[in-house]
């Protein structure tokens, strides 16, 4: 596919998310905003799609396992030329393409998510496949911290470590919230980095909104001599970029009205991220 020059700026992507959320009266804005910088760095610097083809056989695999952040991925896919403007202006209109959670039938999305804990295992399978074929393909799976309540995540972690899947990286969006409250208060995860380390991963914790830190961590992981799978724990802020949404879990569910939409646009425009 041909892409005009993608604009992977966090500010532009947040504006796209706001526009489509307002157009579709969609929820999960906070979930999308916590992963914007992670996606910026992945799509701009690391994910390899030969010929800009989201279905290229030797592509890297990016699995958005926390499908609730899908609007952030849609925004990136538009920058790549994989999705067109009509899909955004008509978001949630009858018969439209893009759903409120990721759908694997759309090229660029590797899983149908929303039911949590699936994408991790699918990604482990992809990484195992790449290892069996001895390709250079990398697999990245982005999960939420709430999502890792799910058992299959830890089943997959055992497998990835057992089979030394050094081409596999889980990125945990640790925004501290899940649907009904703080992760600490629902099922306390404790130290996520040490949990993955104890499962045999090479793990590091970084500021998930610091693009340089994210980029350095990913680069260092792939440069590592270790054969362990990788876990990048990204400390993030749910609703990042719009002060009245930050750390406020109602933006898991709340829809924008004209007033909050305008306020949010202003905040994003003035926020030199």
């Amino acid at each position: 596919m041909n892409a005009s020059t993608p604009n992977f700026s966090a500010k532009a992507l947040r504006k796209t998310v706001l526009d489509m959320a307002y157009a579709g009266s969609a929820v999960h804005i906070g979930c999308a905003f916590s992963i914007i910088e992670l996606l910026v760095v992945l799509y701009r610097n690391h994910l390899h799609y030969p010929g800009n083809d989201p279905l290229a056989a030797n592509r890297d695999y990016f699995v958005l396992s926390k499908g609730h952040g899908v609007m952030a991925q849609y925004a990136c896919m538009r920058e790549l030329g994989w999705l067109h403007n009509e899909a955004f202006t008509g978001y949630f209109s009858d018969g439209s393409l893009l759903k409120g959670l990721s759908d694997s039938r759309i090229p660029g999305m590797e899983v149908t998510s929303g039911s949590l804990g699936h994408g991790f295992s699918v990604g482990v399978g992809m990484a195992m496949g790449a290892k069996l074929r001895s390709t250079e393909q990398k697999t990245y799976v982005l999960v939420g911290d709430g999502e890792i309540n799910e058992g299959p995540i830890w089943e997959g972690a055992l497998f990835a470590a057992q089979h030394r899947l050094k081409n596999f990286m889980v990125i945990v969006d640790e925004n501290g919230f899940q649907a009904m409250g703080k992760t600490q208060e629902v099922l306390n995860l404790g130290n996520i980095q040490s949990k993955f380390e104890s499962f045999g991963f090479e793990a590091v914790t970084i500021d998930g909104h610091d693009e340089i830190a994210i980029d350095n961590a990913i680069t260092q992981f792939w440069a590592s001599n270790s054969t362990a799978p990788k876990a990048l724990i990204a400390k993030t802020v749910k609703g990042k970029g719009v002060p009245f949404m930050e750390h406020n879990n109602i933006w898991h569910y709340t829809r924008l009205d004209q007033h909050t939409y305008m306020q949010a646009l202003e905040a994003v425009a003035g926020n030199a991220l």
Partner: protein, 307 residues
């Protein structure tokens, strides 16, 4: 049937290096040949079925042809959502083998018995459901599943009931196979899996004009063929080692009631769990699926429908 299964997976894997066998720490001895001859294509995913099925989806997306083996009580029952979302949604070419279906694990109780699996899987779009009766149907089903490149759940039940075919049948996906000829206008027995053999024995001894069909394909199934069978029969008796809710009996009834209404006796598990422990034959008796109990039910049904 288990030897045929082992031979077939070895043959498929040797012919296609993309074939991978995943097991959830089950299949002791069953995979000795496979591990010896195709060791790089064997993956024990551990006691972690949800992850195993999700991984199979990832491997299929990466171009592999996974065959996922588990006990029917776990694959598909424990992983229905992974099958639905990760595999069937994208029509990925994954073959899911559920072994020990029905009451094979008669001594182990409810956790290992599986009489709901057809009902659960056949409601999933894009997923085919096969239920072979003997080693020959098993080979035909596996070859068709491999060639078709669609997601298939293959149910393996009691494996030592004897053959119902003389050799590998000329099977076509969806088609029922005649295993005993009969007269038009008489009884049609339609059975799947372990009870095909029982149906043949009952028909041979008691209803010589009855025709017996084996249904190795629960879904898709040839509606036209089922309609013709129902239209040409006085009564239809459907037999399966599975719940009467949602299994083959339901499939036949659903088609017949729209296209060829006929009186149908559904012989299967009556919406209940096993109560007691015992051998396989004992469990069949408990559920009224032993030969004598089925004979009695057919007798009573024919008496009732004669009026």
């Amino acid at each position: 049937m288990r030897d045929a299964f082992s031979d077939t997976i070895v043959r498929l894997a040797k012919a296609d290096p993309n074939v991978l066998l995943l097991t959830g720490d089950h299949g002791y001895a069953l995979f000795d040949d496979f591990r010896k001859e195709c060791s790089s294509q064997y993956i024990n995913a551990g006691i972690a079925e949800q992850n195993m099925v999700g991984m199979a989806a990832g491997m299929a997306r990466a171009g592999f042809r996974p065959i996922v083996y588990g006990l029917s009580a776990f694959v598909p029952m424990r992983v229905v959502e992974q099958i639905k979302l990760d595999i069937a949604h994208d029509q990925l070419p994954v073959m899911l083998i559920g072994d020990g279906a029905g009451f094979v694990y008669s001594y182990l109780g409810t956790s290992h018995q599986s009489t709901e699996d057809i009902a659960c899987t056949r409601a999933i779009p894009n997923l085919s459901v096969y239920s072979p009766a003997d080693r020959f149907e098993l080979i035909a089903c596996m070859d068709l599943a491999y060639k078709s490149k669609v997601p298939v759940y293959l149910r393996m039940g009691k494996s030592d009931r004897g053959d119902v075919h003389m050799g590998v049948p000329q099977a076509k996906v969806g088609r029922l196979l005649e295993v005993k000829p009969g007269q038009c206008g008489d009884i049609a027995f339609i059975a799947t899996g372990s009870l095909v053999h029982t149906a043949m024995n009952i028909a041979a001894d008691l209803y010589s004009d009855a025709v017996v069909w084996s249904a190795p394909f629960i879904k898709p199934i040839d509606h036209q063929q089922v309609t013709t069978i129902c239209a040409q029969s006085r009564v239809v008796v459907v037999l399966e080692e599975h719940s009467v809710l949602g299994g083959l009996g339901s499939v036949i009834t659903e088609i017949a009631c729209e296209l060829a209404p006929v009186q149908i006796l559904r012989v299967g598990v009556q919406d209940r769990f096993s109560e007691h422990c015992g051998g396989y034959e004992y469990l069949l008796k408990e559920h009224g699926l032993d030969r004598l109990a089925i004979e009695q039910r057919v007798h009573d049904f024919l008496k009732k429908t004669a009026h």
